[in-house]
């Protein structure tokens, strides 16, 4: 087939190209917000819940008249949990869709990767990332993290493990910023003397982890701690089981979801795992379950979906509080609507907007837990839960409440 270009075709194409931007941009009576979530890749198990939460909040607010008498236009993009793709997606959100905030990033490398572009365009970021570099790289006070930094995870898991009387550990971690920092936090609490050998790192996507596991259990430690993600932990755990290790295996709950349990079956029993969890007794969490169509099982569901609800709710409340779409004013207003005492506590965006319009000061308490932020925009605290897999189900061993 011969490909030919005609002047008429060129004219039609050029006209389409010139007209398109006006369609893609949010219209004057709309406030544009970008959602950049990990719908595929390493964060694939969590991204869709975050995306759905963002959309539910926006739909509810738009149905009741919007914010500042303007509708919210949500532009959703998939980061693919890859910073290279995410930077280009952020470019589109910032320059074409002209969003005032990009929320929902999960991987630290994605959050940090898009940060230079967001900072130069004064775009607010809301994430559930854990790198300790995030507050350092944020020069303009535009970044809000809805998840504790990973050293805090490490310290919390270590405290809970110590409380169970475990004294000697061996450790290996997936080689990324999240897990490495978590390992550092763990060692801070248990102390170097509690380690039977030097901790080490492994790379994701290996076809076999036999030599790593052999090294890990060579001193027959009482427990092994393996900060990881579900794909690599599943392969590592199969090797641990194959080599007949009888001690305690400790990891993060991110690694022990249904994907892991389905893959290893009954062999999953006995694995101990922990992570920051929503306050499951809070009214906001109960409301979230209803919104997401989930039954209240008493156990933690959608830990990142709840954070997605809180990100969007916080941002919309801050816009209403700021009274304008000025990004610096909105960023400042985030603290106003989430942090501080003596204010009216609200658990959803509708009540928050009503209270703000009535001239009240509010403190939004989220489905993922408290959304109080320190001066660097990092969430101040989260409940933390240690569970054990028994008969293929998570049984809560202990819970630290914030």
């Amino acid at each position: 087939m011969k490909l030919s270009f005609t002047r008429r075709g060129l004219l039609a194409g050029s006209t389409a190209a010139l007209v398109t931007p006006s369609i893609l941009r949010a219209q004057p009576a709309e406030i544009a917000i970008g959602s950049l979530t990990p719908n595929t890749g390493g964060g694939g198990p969590f991204g869709p819940n975050i995306t759905a939460s963002h959309k539910r909040v926006v739909d509810a607010v738009n149905a009741s008249g919007g914010v500042l008498d303007q509708q919210i236009r949500l532009f959703q993009e998939n980061s693919e949990t890859n910073p290279e793709t995410a930077v280009r997606a952020a470019d589109k959100l910032i320059n074409v869709n002209q969003v005032l905030g990009i929320i929902g990033t999960w991987s630290s490398s994605v959050t940090l990767g898009i940060m230079p572009k967001c900072q130069s365009a004064n775009v607010i970021q809301m994430c559930t990332s854990s790198s300790a570099d995030i507050p350092v790289a944020d020069k303009k006070g535009l970044v809000f993290n809805f998840q504790p930094l990973s050293p805090i995870w490490g310290r919390a898991i270590a405290n809970l493990a110590k409380g169970r009387g475990i004294e000697k550990y061996a450790m290996m971690a997936l080689n990324n910023d999240f897990t490495r920092s978590m390992m550092d936090g763990f060692i801070e609490v248990v102390g170097k003397d509690a380690l039977v050998q030097e901790p080490f790192y492994y790379n994701a996507g290996q076809s076999s982890y036999r030599s790593e596991v052999t090294q890990l259990i060579s001193q027959n430690p009482e427990a092994v701690f393996i900060p990881s993600y579900v794909a690599d932990f599943t392969a590592v755990y199969k090797e641990i089981f194959r080599q007949g290790y009888e001690g305690t295996v400790i990891t993060t709950s991110l690694s022990t979801g249904n994907q892991f349990k389905d893959a290893v079956g009954a062999a999953a029993d006995g694995v101990i795992h922990g992570f920051p969890v929503p306050a499951i007794n809070s009214p906001a969490y109960k409301e979230y379950l209803g919104e997401a169509g989930l039954e209240d099982t008493g156990s933690v569901q959608h830990p990142f979906g709840t954070a997605g609800r809180d990100q969007m709710s916080t941002l919309l409340l801050a816009i209403e509080k700021a009274g304008s779409t000025d990004r610096a004013a909105i960023a400042k207003a985030v603290w106003d609507v989430t942090t501080g005492e003596g204010k009216e506590t609200v658990y959803n965006v509708a009540d928050g907007l009503a209270a703000l319009r009535a001239g009240k000061e509010i403190n939004y308490s989220g489905a993922s837990g408290s959304t109080e932020f320190d001066e660097e925009g990092m969430v101040l605290g989260r409940d933390f839960q240690l569970s054990e897999i028994k008969d293929g189900k998570d049984v809560v061993l202990e819970r630290l409440e914030f």
Partner: protein, 300 residues
């Protein structure tokens, strides 16, 4: 929108340099290089580390990154001198991964998985923040032109004919007295020189690089650019790089108009559409959008 087009133009520039370099190695000489992402990373980290850790001016760091790319590329070509086609493909794929894993694990030097933040940008003090993206687009465009000029000169020169002869049958080229080994090493090193250049330009543009940026998928995009554009034709390569970026980015806009699919399904559909566009393009133009022209003997 113009800021977005400027940004995408800059990314297309990186793709063009990488694709021209790969075309030199594979399209013209027939040397399969699946390690494009590794050499891209090498240039990015060489320039980034020189400026951030050693305080080397960016004007020196970028050429140094090119030289690092060339040296490593030359060594790889030398070590794999007896390998051809699929064997060379495996070696280069391995080299690319080795480079990425070194960057990932030598965190005392490279910052490892935390990623490297790079402040330095070329001519940053002379251009306002507002105009800098446009300036950088022109800056990259200059290097695209230079790369194109060098690649085109090589293609048209007597050396270019030798390279094509090596591509078609290196034994015949050797029998005719051509130094096949020397040509292969030279051209592989020149190609990796330009890959290092693309990496350095990318690093100073995004100002934040991490090993996750340089996954083998990047190499696949560059291979797609060469195949879609027309292997062996440098002009076609420029079109191919642009077309692949249009496929990658253009499909993003569908989600802004289609509300019936949620974001998860939309992102999966997007990947399928990119594949379909490639298949359709190659079905219509099997030798690429602008195929290599056959040289004909024209007696005076």
């Amino acid at each position: 929108m113009s800021a977005y087009l400027i940004s995408m133009g800059t990314y297309i520039g990186f793709f063009m340099i990488l694709a021209l370099a790969l075309n030199l190695q594979w399209g013209i000489t027939g040397m399969v290089n699946f390690g494009v992402a590794g050499f891209y990373a090498l240039g990015a980290y060489a320039s980034g580390l020189l400026t951030t850790k050693l305080g080397v001016p960016v004007g020196l760091a970028i050429p140094a990154a090119c030289l690092v790319g060339m040296l490593v590329g030359g060594c790889v070509a030398l070590l794999s001198m007896r390998l051809r086609e699929d064997f060379l493909a495996i070696v280069t794929l391995g080299v690319g991964e080795v480079i990425r894993l070194i960057v990932l694990n030598e965190d005392r030097i490279t910052e490892g998985p935390r990623g490297l933040r790079i402040e330095a940008q070329p001519f940053r003090d002379f251009v306002s923040a507002e105009n800098y993206p446009l300036f950088y687009l022109f800056f990259v465009a200059v290097f695209v032109c230079l790369t194109f000029f060098v690649c085109e000169r090589i293609r048209k020169s007597p050396m270019g004919r030798t390279l094509r002869a090596i591509r078609e049958d290196d034994v015949v080229a050797g029998v005719l007295g051509k130094n096949v080994l020397r040509h292969r090493i030279q051209i592989f090193a020149v190609g990796t020189f330009f890959m290092g250049l693309a990496g350095a330009l990318y690093a100073h543009y995004t100002q934040n690089i991490s090993p996750e940026v340089f996954l083998p998928m990047v190499a696949m995009f560059i291979w797609m650019s060469v195949i879609v554009g027309g292997a062996g034709n440098n002009r076609g390569i420029l079109i191919g790089a642009g077309a692949v970026m249009v496929f990658l980015e253009g499909t993003r806009f569908i989600g802004d108009f289609v509300d019936i699919l949620d974001a998860e399904k939309m992102s999966a559909l997007r990947i399928i559409m990119i594949g379909l566009l490639l298949i359709v393009t190659l079905r219509i133009r099997p030798r690429g959008l602008l195929p290599e022209t056959k040289f004909q003997f024209k007696p005076n």
